[in-house]
Structure formats: structure tokens, C-alpha cells
Symmetry: C2
Amino acid sequence: MTTINDIAQLANVSRTTVSRALNNSGYVSEDVRKRIMKIVEETGYMPSQSAKSLRTKRSGVIGVILPRLSTETSTRVVNGINEVLAKEGFQILLTDTELDKNKEIDYIRLLKSRHVDGIILLATNVNDALIQTIRQVDLPFLAIGQELPGVMSLVYDDYHASADLTNMLIHKGHEKIAFIGVSPEDPSVGRVREKAYRDMMQQHDLVVNESMIGQGDFTIESGYEQMKSILKNCREDKPTALFAVTDRMAIGAMEYLKEQGYEIPGDIAVVGIGASNMSKYITPSLTTIDYFNKDAGKKAAKLLLSKINDKKIDEKFELTYRLILRDSV
Amino acid sequence: MTTINDIAQLANVSRTTVSRALNNSGYVSEDVRKRIMKIVEETGYMPSQSAKSLRTKRSGVIGVILPRLSTETSTRVVNGINEVLAKEGFQILLTDTELDKNKEIDYIRLLKSRHVDGIILLATNVNDALIQTIRQVDLPFLAIGQELPGVMSLVYDDYHASADLTNMLIHKGHEKIAFIGVSPEDPSVGRVREKAYRDMMQQHDLVVNESMIGQGDFTIESGYEQMKSILKNCREDKPTALFAVTDRMAIGAMEYLKEQGYEIPGDIAVVGIGASNMSKYITPSLTTIDYFNKDAGKKAAKLLLSKINDKKIDEKFELTYRLILRDSV
DNA sequence: CTGAAAGCGCTTACAG
DNA sequence: CTGAAAGCGCTTACAG
């Protein structure tokens, strides 16, 4: 492999000068610069990033930690992150926790050892060990999706999104609204969205029938199963609407409802959250909330870059959303 | 940051010994090893990967080049790659070409400069500059999806998949089969799939009506538009079936057909390729080909690792597929 | 079983 | 405007 020394020799200068020419740091005469650049061009020389990073403590790499590599949400966010980062010459080092909390911590430390310049975590839970680790590695850090105390966080407005959806159903005259949530281990999706639903029900003096509450695990299948058991549990007192906290679970529920001959939205209205691709093309098209995940990714990247460049910035940022009204209600 | 020197000092040994203990290379007595490990534990020391990689020329990082970050196919493949790689302690450095051929080449060189141990390219085209570059960087390299001459390639069996689909339609009695393809710039998707379709038509003495041939660009919208113009162009001589070379285009076409009041499959049958998530939940569910993208990713990672470990392996591997018969035919 | 020394390929004060 | 030298944090022959 050609190194800076080879270039220096070929150009008859010191490697100091080559380095300066390459990085536009310090003075170097036009002739020399041209001579160097020509040789760089010819040889196809590329500076070793390991050496560079060892020396400068900067790698031009941002670590991204995902809960799952193959969900639309993750993909969109990463896409946004990458769009901004690539423009600034940064690359993404990707890791996937497979929803394992320990891996979250392992990867933070691993990324540190790989000298990433910063880390973006798509967070699915909040716990002390995690926050502890983040503090320890002392790297520019941003969490998306959950508010981590003391950590720069970019969060969706889960409360209002969920409240809007519930209110919308109520205003359409629904009083018996079933709900499929997820584990409270995930504060944003599990806890906040459910709280907003319950708050709105209460505000309108509607009682929540606990047999109409299910807990899924984000999968389509769990939506299907939860719908099934809700319908079984509440017997003759059927809900007239379903609020599932993710599109995938909503779609699973719709599958079951359609199988059982329910008309959507005639017999039961369905709403989800996430604006998945599928939500638009399923029949009937699903009413949902668009969280603009790609924009979230972009914003995340920008915030992290600011932090890296030592700009003073706030700790918490809230994102906006949009309710997409479609045929399922 | 704690370095190997700090550990050495704390443990009262040389850094040589620490290195040996950490890497299980060469002898080191039990006492010393334990002493070292304890300190490593306490300090949370992690060796600098930059220094390591500078010295050893190995980084534990694999570069992955994607045509688009946000397609199901890409995501599934990356997921498979990551599953195998993570187990072996490798990380993925992710790059997205946004379908720009120049970026493909730039990224290969960039990844080289970042000392990746190997590169996996989800290929969408074949050209000399690309092959040239791959040869130049002289790194373990694997292309997925296209056969690159002289480069280890893992390809889908586009010809037979496409032929099967066409035959299936013919055997169901269809004679006027419309076709939505993509640019021949993409040999596998654009050229091979179309060739198989034409070959099968010919084998069954069916003439291809050129006004029933469209060319989309992978997007749902292009499927919609192509279907529209096909229907317009062939006037009264309507097709009774449509073969779109990707699910997304098939779904776009279905949208248009449904809008226009066509019954699927009654008036016109539709098939796609890709086994997208949506294909299962759209109404009617879409007949398609499953390419097992995740398995492809796994296989790719395994092949690349073999190559890195200097195993002699073949240059070309063909993947299997499965036809999923559903309600759209 | 352990250590001193060289070297990987860069950048950056420092000196001229 | 240019260069010699030190040093980033590791590993690995070599010597003992």
C-alpha cells in the first residue's frame, strides 16, 4: 500500500509537507501543492484512517445503535442520519442489539473503542446501567425515541399524538375503544401512549373496559392475537374502535377482524401509529400518525454534529407529527 | 483514556505482557493473567482499535455498500450479513450510494482507506470502472445480486424465477401477459428477468405485444404509471395478466387497476417478485417470488469471512427461491 | 514466562 | 514556506 512516505519521496518533499497539502493546514507553495496532488492522483493514494484516527482522536465515524435492523422505523431514521452524515464526510458504523439491553451497553463500549466521534442510539428502554455507561464513555451522544435523563434526547411527541388519535375516535362517536399497547419497559411506546389514551378517555367521562386492553410486542402476529383475545374477553360488549400503538399491530388486528367477517370501519374502526408503507396500501387504508422518522434521523445527525463541534446545545428536543386520516375510521 | 500502558503500570508488568494476556497470544502465567484481567475489568479498559488496526492491518470491520438504505431488500440482506458478522466480532460500516455509480466507486476506495477487512456490495449494475476499482483495492470482495466478472458473486436465480412466474401464468391460460420491467442498466433485474419472460412466451408460441411492455424504476408510483400507459396503449386489446419484476411496481399497478374498477385476478392477474411485507397484506394478496434475502445476506457474510481467512473458494454462487402463490392470480 | 525496542502511518508543535 | 522529530496505542519478532 502506498503511504504518505511514498508520496513524499515521489514528490521530493517531506511527509510533513504532504500532510499539510492534503489537509490544507499551514502553508505550502502552489508548485509543491500541485506536484503532490498530481502524484496523489496518479497513485490513487488514500491516507490510512487508522493512523489518522490514532493520531487525531477523530475517526469520521458515527456509531449507530439500532434495536432491530429490519423495521421500517429504524431504516428511515438511519436513512436520515446517513443523508446528513455522508454529506459531512462521516460514515456510519452500524450495530443491532436485537432488543437485548446488555448488547446496548456492550455496543456503546465497543463503539468507544473503535474511536467513533459520536453515538446515536435508537432507544427502546431506559435504565440506570445504560445511563451510567453513556456517562462513562463520555462521547457526544444522542438518544432518539426516549428521554434519557442527562443525555441529549430527541423524542417523538407520543403523548399528544396518542391523545389526538383517541380524541378523534371519541369525536366520531366511539365510546368503547379497545387498545393494544406494548410493555411499559418501553416508556415512550408502552407507557406514554397508553397514558394519553386513558387520560383522554377519562376527560370524556368514558370508562376503560380492562378486557379491551391488550399488550402486544410490536409484531403483526401479536396484533392478530391480541385482537382475538380482546374480542373473546369482552364477549357481547364489543368495542367499536381499536387503537393499536403501532401500525404493524393494527394491521395484524385488521387481519383477524377481516377473517372474522367484521367490516372496517363499519363494525369497528382501527387506527395505528407509524405511517408504515403498508398502512397506505392495505384495504381499508389505515389511519395513522406520521412521525417523520427520516427527518428525525436528519435532525439527530445535525444535533450530534453540533455537539461534536462543541456547540452548546439543549438536552431535549421534541419532534412534530401528523395525523393521516384514512379509510379505516 | 486508559491505555495499555496504564494497565501495564497498574499490573506491574510490561505492556507486552498485557497485550499477550488480552489476545491470548504467547505464554503468560496464571497469576499475572488474573492480575491483568482484574485491572482491565476495574478500569473498563478497551484497546484502541485504531492503534490495533494500524499495527495489524485488520480492523474487524466489513464495509457494506447499498444502493438504497430504505428498501426492504437491502434491509433484509444487511440484517443477514450483520447476524453472521456480529457473532464473529465484526462490525458493519454502512454506505449508501443513492443509486449513483460514481459513489459506488468512491465508497470502495473510502472503505479501503478505512482499513475494512472486506467489502460486500449490493450491486445494481455492472461496468468496467467498477470492476477495475474492485481489482485495484485488492480486498476480499463479494457482490450480491449481479454477476461481476472476476469478482466473487452471489446471485439470485433471476432467470428461472422469472420463467417460473411466466409459465405459471401461461398454464393458467393467460396469453396476453403485460410486463413491467426496469432499465437494462441493471442486468439481473432489467435484462435477465425480461429475457426469461420473453423466452417463455416464445416457447409457448405466444407473441409479445410491445405495447404491453413498460419500464418502471422500482417505485410504487412507476408501477402505477406504467400500468396506466400500458392500458392506454393497448386500447381494446387488454392484457389478462401482468408480470411486474418487483413487488413495489406490482403494487403500484394494482392500485391503478383497482381505481379503474378492474377485478384482480378476475379481470387481470398480477404477479411480482420480492416477497415484500406488503405483498402479503395487500388485497388481494400478491403472488410473488421469495428470494430469501436474509439468507442471502448470511451466506454473503460467510463467504466473505472464508475469503478473509484465505480459504480458496469459488467465484460464483447461485441462490434458491420460492414461488408464493396467493390471491392475485 | 517476561520485557525492550521497533514500527505501523499519520499529524503537529517547534525550529529555521 | 519547509523539514526533523516526537508521539498516538498497539503488536511482534527477538532476546533472555
